[in-house]
Amino acid sequence: MLIPHPLLGLRDAQEFSYLGDASLLLRPDGMAENAAETFFPYVYLRENPAGLHRELWFHEQGDRSWLVVTRNTVTHEILGAELAGDVVARNRASRDGGDLA
């Protein structure tokens, strides 16, 4: 597979290591009253879609960027990749406490 790195262009997937669902970006507040309830789904519950999936890849053999890659799990088509930090920033700007923006 080839991953379109937002800074470096198309890079071979072998340069990356894979983490999984990008919902890991939305870490709950550990000091909140209901932390025990919010951390359980954060740590354990994942969607497993047959289709579009936003997921975290680490450019370990490259510039060490964490990327959010949108991939079709059925066809392996990759629709885009962004720096994870940019996704977090956008998410915080528009966040209503819901899903990943």
Binding site: M1, L19, L25, R27, G30, A35, A36, F58, H76
Partner: protein, 976 residues
Amino acid sequence: MRLSGGLIDRSRTLRFSFDGKTYAGHPGDTLASALLANDVRLMGRSFKYHRPRGVIAAGSEEPNALVELRDGARREPNTRATTVELFDGLQARSQNRWPSLRFDAMAVNDLFANFLTAGFYYKTFMWPRAFWEKLYEPAIRRAAGLGSLSMQGDPDAYDKGFLHCDLLVVGAGAAGLAAALTAARAGARVILADEDHRLGGRLLAESHSLDDRPATEWIASLEAEFASLSNLRILRRTTVFGAFDHGIYGAVERVSDHKPEPGIQPRQTLWRITAKRTVLAGGATERHIPFRDNDRPGIMLGGALRAYANRWAVSPAKRVAIFTNNDDGHRTAFDLISRGVEIAAVVDSRPNAQAKGTYRVINDAVVSGSKGRLGLQSVAVTRGGQTEWIACSALGVSGGWNPNVHLASHQRGRPVWDEAQQTFLAPADLPGGMIVAGAAAAQGTTHAALASGADAALRALNDLGIAASRPALPAAEDAPLNLRPLWHVPGKHRAWIDFQNDVTVKDVKLSHQENMRAVEHLKRWTTLGMATDQGKTANVSALAVMAEMTGKGIAETGTTIFRPPYTPVSISVLGGGNTGEHFRPRRLTPSHPWAAAHGAVFVEVGQWMRAQYFVRPGETHWRQSVDREVLAARKGVGICDVTTLGKVDVQGADAAEFLDRLYCNAMKSLKTGMVRYGLMLREDGQAWDDGTCARLGETHYVVTTTTANAGTVYRHMEFARQCLWPELDVQLISTTDAWAQFSVAGPNARKLLERVVDGFDLSNEAFPFMACANLSVCGGARARLFRISFSGELAYEIAVPARYGNALFARLVELGQDLGATPYGTEALGVLRIEKGHAAGNELNGQTTAQMLGMGRMVSTKKDSVGAVMSRREGLAADTRVLVGLQPVDPSEPVVAGSHLFAEGATQETATDQGWITSACFSPHIGSSIGLGFLADGAARRGEVIVAANPIQNQSVRLRVVSAHFVDPEGERLRA
């Protein structure tokens, strides 16, 4: 027999042997063509029934003529004689026969054919269960399989490489050449790959002219032009075996398979080709038509017979018959006659076929049987219920052509049935960027192939925005096949469909009768297409027979899916040379040269080679060396290379806050110039990794990780920085390889270090336990010093830039002679830490918690940190198992890591399990084996005697529960 003409070099003779007998051939021959030239028709035995078999094809689709090649470690089973280029001294042997190819005792299987039918494995080996391992499997293993392995290591080198191109052209026949020419002239970066050693594909096997000249002249003119184009790369002897995601193709180049030995070249190279567009011009494979006893040596595909005559100037016999359902059979007859071969008859299943020359045509007829034990002698021809036997020593069978759409469906696309052309075509959902051309797209005439190849390239280049024009293509034949389907000749007796796996029409019928009708069931029930040739000459015919049984059309019956590899690929080339020492990177510690010169025995620790212990003269057992090293560190001073521990440099205004969120214990309160132990949890609350955190400056920290987790902890830290808290001002870099770091441990550690530091006060007051500093050593070398201890002794870790590491190590040993300075390895390191009760990888195995490690109270509740919330879960918090020390009641008894702990007298089962031993060693300090382990209610059981059970070795040892700190429990030594 050898004919005249052909594309072989008769000026040179090559000697080769088959089953010990010596023959001669010429450059340009394959093993198969050379054997046919020497009138050898019998080349192997079939898989199940051990029936005599000869070659049936002329290319990589060959199912029968599989031979063992070469000798000794280079012996290679199951090579196809049709793709083996002849070289002088080549040795080949037939397979799957005993005692000899002509007389094979296992041929008795043929008499039991009724038992070896479809579903044989499923029906026979169900019961009794006890027979499985003892009888069935060994018996099958002996009887099944074709060639045998050398059982020696592969002596040859393999390589892998990466290629990129605008256009990959798979196949260098008429279509592929036209495509490559079009794209190369347009300036695109082109790769043209073909499994043959010679460009031309089917053009080399035909007698057609191009522009009234032999096709080879046109090919030669192209090759001359290609040689001048630097944007075109030709990969000969290269099979593109798989189409993977995003335009990535796998290909194997057989760099030196055609030589006796590879010399300095690799044997094969694995290419990973990234192509923007691909033209698949892989040609087509001919179908045969199953009839009774259609597997005798001498019965071949018609196109193969023609190829042998035209390209290699050989014929398997002087007198040949043809069986066809289309005009291709007549083309074969024509070419054979023109080369002096006698045509006994052309048996055509169509009613009104016309002869293309002077030979006998029997219309509306089929071949219904054959005779000849080790080679064809005659065929039965049935017409209108009358059967006539015709003498001939070879038969060419033409049933039409199947486009080679394998690569086109490697991405799960299903081939589509085309009723008009009676073939499967490439699926609509092709791998991205692929265009199919030529015979692979059922554009099988030379004219159509050339045109479709050029058109495919134009389409691909247009997609890429590369301007191109259609080259002038030579005038070529454009005769249709006029095929009338005939999938098999009906009859009661066995008619082979899949030669390699011995699947007959009867098996397909039985599969239908037993309701294994779906193609995927048919395949598994009969083993159709599951041999090394993947049923290239069999699958479509079998589907057609099944479609006939079910009454559904072929389109509805469908086909199984094609998967890589297109032809067999050796494990060696997939390894690409990553074997032995090259299996993975080997990392050497900075003191490796010194250690290697001083008796070190090395051990692999992940990618690292670390000194395990240093053997001194007179030491004959590793324990002698290790005990000496341990005692030296306890009594004098020991020196150990600990560079492999991960090091991460953390800088920035928010570095303290960042580390506070990563470690479960408080880090913000750490003062500059001090070090603190740090424990990291996983977000699920389990303990993950530990190390030290040194604050070298206001905004500058160096943290360490365990050796094993150096990579993953760094990855996690970057995740936290970029994904969780991008608002923090902090920067990270791994410096594991940049700094050499040595532990200097023992009562004399300070005295030794005083001899290398440049005017640095090492007194306990100036540089207390857990202090750290930047300094210089040995007259100006930059260094870092940490007063930390993993052994329980007065200890330091000193770091210098990696390039000074070996020199510093040597200097420390040399300067410490009188202090008892002793290098120690990982074994002594382990003993020292077990004696002190320090947790390491065995204790931090992902199943344990801070609480179990006795560090539960370290997990701060005043801050949020990774894993803190989940570590307070009921299930984890309620776990009473805790790290304890264990000592055998009888000091002569062993303590074995992995043993499980039980109360004395208790039954030993899961329900009564109270924990396990994590680490164990012989402690020279205690004078017996000791261990660390997790024990239920361990904190309250000091002094109790328990039992360690090791049922694997039938051991049961009584242990006393003691403090995990076997050495200096008050910690006075390390603060001294």
